[in-house]
Amino acid sequence: MCGQCGCDEPQAAPLPRRRLELHQPLLSRNDSQAARNRDHFKRHGLRTINLLSAPGSGKTALLEQLARHWPRPPIGVIVGDLATDNDARRLQLAGARAVQIRTGDLCHLDSALVDQAFSQLDCSGIDLLVIENVGNLVCPAAFDLGEQRRIALLSVTEGEDKPLKYPALFKSADAVVINKADLAEAVGFNRRSAIANLNAIAPQAALFELSARTGEGLDALIHWLDAKPA
């Protein structure tokens, strides 16, 4: 038998094993789409931000404030959420042009999803586009979406040691925003320790402290977003 079926042919000798050198990045498909997105955003004159945080840190609240106070409104937002379009509606009420990506069970956005969403966004007259990632401090860090800069958001209610627990995400950030500063005292937030942790884990990142609820501290972030040309 040949080894494949019940025929009378003699068994074929197995083919010799050989090694194929590939050295291919596992995320090469995502990365090349991200490069196309980056190019696309640039041609539209957009500053593009990938905003990452845990669930409930206040990403949408921060973007509502940005939508109201950005010097050249409206801002554009692509917002990822597992199941609802609540976030997009909140942002539209605040004056943003928002497109929702419903990710289903996906734990992160990828560059192809962002590309699809971007094709639904009317970006005329917009110079700031924020991609609000899925609330998750692990998976989104690995996926380039084509953004110019990354912002990691951390709220005082999450504790000072969050950057130590999720180093990969904070190390990939161009800026870290500490949100809910108005609650710092009430929850016993150790500001000095949080800043020391951030300086140790993410020395490259600009640091902002603000309250998305009251708007306090927002100006410095707006200035940083505005300062770098698209």
């Binding site: 083919l15 094993r17 194929l20 590939l22 050295h23 596992l26 090469s28 998976c139 690995a142 884990i201």
Partner: protein
Amino acid sequence: MHELALLQELCALAAAAAEEQGASQIHRMELRVGELGGVNPEALRQAFAVVAATAPWQTAELQLDVVPTRCFCPHCAQAFSPLDVIYACPQCGAISRQVLEGRELELVALEVS
């Protein structure tokens, strides 16, 4: 938990490369995973066990090499292996911003026939 998504990418890359080279069987996939690649090697192995139960992956073996983090200290002009998630140079204590290795997430090679 994006390991399953990564594994799908891996299988797609491997299958395409094998087909392109006229190979009909994949015996081994060699993967380099950096400590900072955002991937849990154990979760990746478990995800592979699911895939490996189906054709044409039953004969394939997954070799996972974890790449430790290496940083560069500009003051001491040398590379070092950080002791923990804070990349402090063991010589001078300065915190490094330069990661030389540890972000890899790469399909290195296949063994096929």
